[in-house]
Symmetry: C2
């Protein structure tokens, strides 16, 4: 399996290193920022390239892991390649790749990647889509090199997954931040909340979130909610969030 | 250590079983619902009691783990006991116990408890407070029987902790629920999101939430946010939440 990696951010880095570890050859790395291309190329024993005329046309697979809005222009550079062309974006339709490679599709890893934290890709759900059944089979085989969790997901479903991930991951993390700031304002350490955060995530690994909801809103504990809103008096946006969430929790209880 | 347990809900159950496992004697269990008192008493080899005149006055410690608004009336029943009286509520001031026992205080376990899931109490932060330094020392000793994480936290700080826990736990869990509902509406399994939820919680076990924020809001990816708001067109309250959270994430980036 010969791969060219286009992009050098978190997703490009985690995928390339995992492919390399599974025995694939990373032929080349291209990045808008050539320094980052050099770093990722060094990690994966690939060649960093600057210009599209240096592109190796013989790879089996070209992986585009760049900012969403940069995908179309890169796809346009990949019309002449023999391999298949794959993007990794949750929010981008497969159709932006039309015409690229000998086939095209999507491999969307449903995970949050940080540069500094290793992720066990074998447990990460990979959501794939191909322009034809034959391409989809190829992308499936490639995805199975990395993960045990491979699902075929069409472009419409993938958009929903991406939106759901914003709530489950990005917005939850912001609530962690709000809680850490509340604690810091009162000389309390965030360490006090870390076990609660873990347990909250662990609970829904086997249960449905609706079945394990706790707190004053689900109990309809008006007194506590009133006290909480008073504590938030200096932060009208937090009060608004508190009220919106509490109302939704109450209304969605069963 | 002789303990009387007042209450039979999740907190009462987890604490009593843990105390029993550490060698304490659970003398009696009282609950508004006598059937539940009988169940917890059976689990801890205690005697279930119905009436306050059956109360054993010789216990070292009376633990009140009932609904917040029931604490004062129960405290009033415990003016004649020799031991110390402790409530377990995050949202209730220690002062509601004034006059109870030979001393009084708080032991607030900062964790979310479900009836069906065991929790390793040794890792749960226990936030304690006592009416005098001597009582606080006794409560600290009791708390250390259960957990390695014991912190002295005053009533004002405990209110903030409880509020922060609502954001970090209750509200995050509701976002898990929103994401699971979005997926179900599009024939997608919640399993696809479970690893992401775990990773999001794991990341902040060592990092600060502000340092690991990801997603379209922190990237200021207007196109994706616009698409997400369109996908939420049938749910004005989710659109409002999406906009509020995205604005806060953008404004609190650094």
């Amino acid at each position: 399996m010969k791969i060219v990696c286009i992009g050098s951010g978190n997703v490009a880095t985690h995928l390339s290193i995992a492919f390399k570890a599974m025995g694939a050859d990373i032929l080349q790395v291209w990045s808008r920022d050539h320094r980052n291309a050099e770093i990722l190329a060094a990690l994966t024993k690939a060649k960093p390239i600057r210009k599209w005329d240096e592109l190796d046309l013989s790879a089996d697979c070209y992986i585009i892991a760049v900012k969403d809005d940069a995908i179309p222009e890169i796809a346009a550079q990949l019309t002449g390649v023999k391999g298949i062309v794959i993007h990794t974006s949750g929010a981008t339709a497969m159709s932006v790749l039309t015409g690229a490679g000998s086939g095209y599709g999507v491999l969307y890893p449903l995970q949050t990647f940080s540069r500094t934290k290793a992720v066990d890709l074998t447990k990460v759900p990979l959501c794939i889509e191909g322009d034809t059944p034959a391409t989809e089979d190829k992308i499936s085989a490639i995805a199975h090199l990395l993960s045990h969790q491979v699902s075929v997901v069409n472009s419409e479903q993938r958009k929903i997954l991406h939106l759901a991930a914003v709530f489950a991951c990005n917005f939850s993390n912001h609530f962690y931040q709000i809680s850490s700031e509340l604690l810091a304002q009162h000389q309390l350490k965030f360490d006090l909340l870390r076990p609660l955060i873990m347990e909250t995530a662990e609970k829904v690994q086997s249960a449905s979130p609706a079945d394990v909801q706790t707190g004053p809103a689900i109990r309809e504990d008006q007194e506590t909610m009133k006290n909480h809103l008073e504590l938030l008096e200096g932060s009208p946006d937090l009060q608004q969030l508190y009220q919106l969430l509490s109302l939704r929790i109450k209304n969605s209880s069963h």
